[in-house]
Each structure stands twice: as C-alpha cells, then as structure tokens.
Symmetry: C2
Subunit: 120 residues, 2 copies
DNA sequence: ACAAGTACTTACCCCAAAGTATGTATGACA
DNA sequence: TGTCATACATACTTTGGGGTAAGTACTTGT
C-alpha cells in the first residue's frame, strides 16, 4: 500500500488539512479520476465487477481494482465473492456510502448551475 | 501555465471525466490541499491577502497566490487592488463562490458523521 | 543608507497518483 | 489439449500538483 514518508512537508500538510478540513476529508474518500464514477454506478444498486468494468470503458483494470479496494477499506462499499469458477464478485454500497448521495446531489446541482446548463 | 500534452491517456481520461462527472467538475474547482480552506475563510466575508495568509500559517505564498489566481480564473472570487503603497488587495467571493456553501455543508455533514464525531 | 512591510514572481525539485504491460488461478467447454 | 472467461496482481514509467528558496517593486520610518 505504498509506504509513506512521514517527514515531508507534503504529508505533514496533508494530515493537517485532513484533520482540520471536512471538505478535504470527503475528497480523500471520493476524490480522484474514478471514485465518484464508481460510486455513481453503485448508487443504483449492487453490481458485479464485470458490470462496473463494462460501465466504465476508459478505466484500466488496475485502477478499478485499486479504487474498489480503497473504497472497501474506507467502508464505503462491501465486497462479496461467491466461491465459484469463474469468480462471481459483487460490490454493494454501505450505509455510509449511500449517505454520499446527498453530497453528490449538492455537488451536481452546483456543477450544472456553474456550467450554465441549468434551465429550471 | 504548464503546457499540456494532448495525446496522453491521463489528460484524455481527465477530460472525459470532467465532462461526464459533476463531482469531478466540482473537485477541479475546489479540490487540492488549500482551495477549500481559502474558500472557508472567505465565506465569512472579504479578506485582504495578508489576512488570508495569517489565517493559514502552513501554506506557502506561492501556493496561496497560485490558488487565488485559479479561483479568480474560475470566477469563484474577485480580486480588488487599491493603487497604493504598500499594496492593499482584497479577495471577495462571487455569487457562484457563495453558492458553494451548501456543497461544503453537505460535505461537512457527511464527514463528521463518517468520522464518528457527530453527537447531534 | 537601509531595514521593513505588502503582494507578488520565478526557477528548480520531489513524490504520489495515474497509466502501461504483462502475468496468475481456476474450471468449463470444444 | 488448449482456449475462454472472470477477477484479480505486480513491476515499471509518466505526469502534474505541491514544496523550497530566492528575488522584485515601491514607499515609509529610523
């Protein structure tokens, strides 16, 4: 999981900001190129790995797995694997993950307004 | 402003995601280590450069200026300079910038809940 | 003469996130 | 026997955000 150099200003500032700033806390959970999209696709219900993959043509498998693991570690989703071959793995949002819907909605509202795409 | 290599997957994906994902759009405007903090300080009213600087002891001047310029370019705040010496420059949120308050609130609500710090 | 305050600017470096490419285990099916 | 499908893993490279350090312009105070 990529060891962290403790004695760097970058990480010092990062920690300060994470502890002090709820916005940055949220960013650390759902930020990056792909995590919001993954969450979006799961908001409509559980999906298996291959379904998420098909829904996101541009993401590489490495990035997809990496972010799914991260989201699982952050307790935003749950991974369930059936012991069959070929593998059957589903991903489901936790309550915490579902709670992000209001956040995402607020962001979407502002975004569409800001992009001048709102018509009411 | 740091020339961009057009033919890279990194930027291709970035653009795709920016156009498709309102969450990423918002992130691009208020993401990073410092922008949310700057916005937070300006939500309570206009401030001059030196006031913001004092309110954020850990930020470097380069980062502060850089983000203020970016926020200005994104029309989230307005810079006003009085032609005096020593310089007197104030930064004020635009309506668009003020509109972020609801977004920030939604994020803060979720963050505090998720951090288990909520007591109601 | 020179230090101090304000609001910047610029050149350079580091590192973590993102991307590339390839490999793995297992069983079904042809 | 070997190819296909699923759900990963891993070594390596690239990219851009962030940090360091130093300098600039202009004027007021000592």
């Amino acid at each position: 999981m990529t060891a962290i150099k403790e004695n760097s200003t970058y990480n010092a500032n990062r920690e300060i900001v994470l502890n002090e700033c709820p916005v940055t806390y949220v960013m650390s959970k759902i930020g990056g190129h792909w995590k919001p999209i993954i969450l979006y696709h799961l908001l409509s219900g559980s999906k298996r790995y291959s379904e998420i993959k098909k829904a996101m043509p541009h993401i590489t498998e490495k990035m997809l797995i990496q972010h799914l693991k991260q989201l699982e570690a952050d307790k935003l989703l749950i991974r369930e694997a059936k012991p069959v071959v070929p593998p059957y793995v589903t991903y489901t949002l936790t309550e915490s993950g579902k709670g992000l819907q209001t956040v995402i909605s607020a962001m979407a509202d502002w975004a569409f307004k800001d992009m001048g795409k709102v018509r009411i």
